[in-house]
Symmetry: C2
Subunit: 265 residues, 2 copies
């Protein structure tokens, strides 16, 4: 990287390196101040139901971009964004079963596919750190811990399932400040949905995340849970569309949109 850290690269340069495979893995902590997005790609005959599902579940599935059928580009989020190659990792699903993990889905593209970009909580992490809130997973270069909760999503069409949540551990005082800060960003999941007792939302063991990495909870800290854009993956497993593509958890689309552009106030 010739003395340039990944964090100082602008989104376009990061996407170029992701496209070539020079950058792989999860994107937490990259491009601070820019919006990152989850991805769901569905055939047109499932896309309408999915949009309806997102509409009634804005906390977990805030849609910030959507393509026309067969169009893999999202110019409103970044001039040259190509959803087929610009994320570091993809999951391919058939009938609700994950059949492939890959770094490029160009060979799988079809004329009837519709891409959805869904706001990701990585987007506000820089704002939290800027307020002096330490985020252990970023300091340790890891992904957040992600869990399937027992909070039901509102069903829509053929889609239903549980809310998936991301967890960050912090002191109560930092959690209060984080709630205030994240309230400004509803398009990237906004304020948390829960803190404290994980069993209250159906999480049995914080040391066994369903996705992402284990994150330590130190004395004096509480786990704080945000609605997560991995929710569509849990829902797709239940609803079983014949074919779809998602991002691999933590491997997000880095957009040109600044977090300050989507701040509510």
């Amino acid at each position: 990287m010739h003395g340039v850290t990944r964090n100082s690269l602008i989104p376009r340069e990061l996407r170029q390196q992701i496209r070539t495979g020079a950058i792989q893995g999860q994107t937490s902590g990259m491009a601070p101040g820019f919006v990152q997005a989850n991805l769901a790609i569905l055939p047109k005959d499932w896309a309408d139901d999915f949009l309806a599902f997102c509409h009634v579940n804005p906390k977990s599935c805030p849609v910030i971009g959507m393509t026309q059928p067969g169009d893999p580009f999202l110019p409103l989020l970044g001039e040259e964004i190509d959803l087929r190659s610009d994320l570091p990792g993809y999951y391919v699903w058939e009938n609700g079963v994950r059949v492939q993990e890959t770094t490029d889905v160009s060979s799988l593209w079809r004329d009837d596919l519709v891409g959805f970009a869904i706001g990701c909580s990585f987007s506000f992490e820089h704002a939290l750190m800027d307020a002096g809130i330490r985020l252990r997973h970023i300091e340790e270069g890891r992904n957040v811990a992600i869990f399937r909760s027992n909070i039901p999503c509102a069903p829509a069409g053929r889609f239903q399932g549980p809310m998936v949540v991301s967890m960050r551990s912090m002191t109560p005082a930092d959690a209060i400040r984080a709630i205030q800060i994240c309230t400004r960003f509803p398009n990237v999941h906004g304020a948390p949905v829960h803190f404290g007792d994980p069993a209250a939302i159906g999480i049995a063991d914080l040391n066994k995340p369903d996705y992402g990495d284990v994150v330590e909870i130190r004395p004096g800290e509480v786990p704080v849970f945000w609605a997560c854009g991995v929710t569509p993956q849990a829902v797709l497993q239940t609803s079983k569309p014949p074919f779809c593509i998602t991002h691999a958890p933590g491997s997000m689309l880095i957009t040109d949109l600044r977090i300050s552009e989507i701040s509510l106030f």
Copy 2:
């Protein structure tokens, strides 16, 4: 009351009944939507230090009104407000020791006394209930539970001491919403300062409040703590001015100011 509940009386009528003694005790739940205030009255030669103390402790001591020396009126908070008689209960202090509890301090008034009205968290309780958050102490007609914490206030002049906090018990989801709502009202203590483990802020037993009433914490709930305008009383006990007057905890000044007028956004 001839079919009129206290809650439907406007602030001026409530103050009139308080002045005559027809209404006594604590004011939580009265005049929903109007700002309530804590009271501190000090001799002029201590008032400057006290204002400095409030200035550096805006979370616990947000000054919303201040009189000229010898003047007991606060027309900006209510045309005919008389600080000597318009609160249901007063404490009188000498050298940091409480020497009297009374419902009228007119006979104690002096030409050098300066009155401070400090925003009270009762002011936002209606906004919380309006959002569907149940407040047990109001449903049970009691005062909030109030505790001396070990959070140090910033010292100023001759004043120093611990922050006093009020406690309300609610689910984590309601606490998150309460943090959002209260953030709009910094002049009446704003967002909480802590939630969860009471020992983390030096509270040994939630069943033994230092002021106010015991409030039950039910399964699935967490205690949520707000900075409280009783803080000056804890500070006065430490700093020992020769003479001062405060409200009795929970017996507040009900002002004509609407909570919507002081909302930050």
